[in-house]
Amino acid sequence: MRLWREASLVAGKDLRIEARSRIALGQILPFGIIVVILFAFALDPDSGLLTRVAPGLFWVTVLLAALLAVGRAFAVEEKSNARDGLRLTGLDGSAVFLGKMAAIAAELLFLEILLGTAVVILYGVEVNGLLVLLAAAPAATLGIASTGTLYGVLAAGLRSRETLLPLLLLPVLAPVLLGATRAFEGGLEGAPSDAWPWVGLLWIFATFYTAFGVLAFGTLWEND
C-alpha cells in the first residue's frame, strides 16, 4: 500500500512538472507530429506504401519521442540536485521507479492517441481490430516506459547521457518495436487474429522489465 502511495506521489509530481513546463506538450508532441508529416511527404501516398509502413513509422516515432520523455524525466532531477532531495526523503527506490515509469507511460499514451489520430487521417489507414490496438498500445507503452526508466537512471548523472541513452535503450527496445509494429499491422490493415501472439509478447516484455526495474532501480538510484 505504501509502495503505491509513494509511486503515485512521484508520478503526480512528475506529471505536474511536465504540465507546468509544457516540454512534453510544446516540444515532444510537435516533434512526433512533424516526424509523421515528414514521412507522409517522403513516401508516396498514392502507391499504398504509407498504409503498409504506417505501423512501423508510428512506433519508430513513439520510440524517438520516448527518448526525449525519458531524458526529461531524469533531467528534472538533476537541476538543483533534486535527486538528492528525493533520496533524502527516504522514498523507496521501487516507488520512485514505478512513479517515474507511470508518468512517462502517461505522457506516451497521450502522445500515441494524438499521433495515432494523425496517422489515421494523414496516411489514410483503416482500423480493422480496435481491440488489438487497445491491448497492444498499453503493453508496448509500459515496456518502453519501464525500460526507459531503468536505462534513464543508468545514464543520469553522466556527462554524455544525451548520446548514451539512445545507444543503450534502442537496441533493448527492438523487441517492443517489432512486436508493436506486427500487432498494429494486424489491428490496422491486416488480420487482427494474427496480432494476438505479438500482443502477448509485448505484455511479457512489459511485465519482465517492470519486475526487473522494481528490483534493480533502487540500487542504481542510490549509487550515482
Binding site: 509513494e6 509530481k13 513546463s21 528534472v76 540536485n81 532531495g85 526523503t89 527516504g90 549509487n223
Partner: protein, 216 residues
Amino acid sequence: MPLVEFHSVVCLLGTFPALAGVDLQVEPLDVLLLEGPNGAGKTTLLRLMAGLIPPHSGEARVFGVDLFKDRRSARHRLALVGHETYCYDDLTVMENLQFTFKASALTGTGISEVLERTGLGALAAVRHAHLSAGQRRRLALANALVRDPELLLLDEPHAGLDEEGRACLHEIISSAPSEGRTVVLASHELELSRQLASREVRVQSGTIVDCARENL
C-alpha cells in the same frame, strides 16, 4: 547514545580520499560547528552523515544504523541543507514543501508554520525558478525543517542570505536544542557560527585535526 559515531572513516570520491580516517561523535542536542579550509572534507562529511554517499572503510553509524549496511533508514530522521535547494524549478514553494512533506510520510500542520518561520509565507505560490538566490536558500532551509528532523545538517547555511535571512537561520539554530534537534553545520562564517555552536571541530585534509574547543 551518540547520534553520529564515526571511527577511522575513509570516504573515497572516485579514487580521491575525501575523508582519510575521520573520528567523530555527535551527541544528542549538540550544535556542532565544522570549520576548515575549502576542500577539507566538510561537505563530504555531511553527505556521508546523510547517507548520500557510502563510506569506504572504518565504522560509521548514524542513529545507530551502520552506514555500510543501510544508508536509507536514518534518512527519515535527518535533513540536509546543501549547496543546492533540492527543489523543483517548475513547482511553487508550497508544492515543493508539500511534496517533501508527503514523501517523508509526515502528518500534521508543519508546512504553514515552517513558511512563517522562514519568512516565505508571501512566496508560497511562487515557482522555485522565479525565486532569488537568497529566497532559494530560505526554501532549502524550509524544505529541511518541514521534515521536522532530529538531526539537521547545514552546509554553508549563511551563503546568499541577507540580514533577515541570517536572523531567521540563527533563530532556527539557536532554538534547535530546545526543540529536540541536533545540528551539525559547516561554515566559513566563523564569528557568526561560533555564537551558536556548542562544539567546534576543525576539518583539514579529510581528517578531524582539533576537537578541543568545546562548550564555546
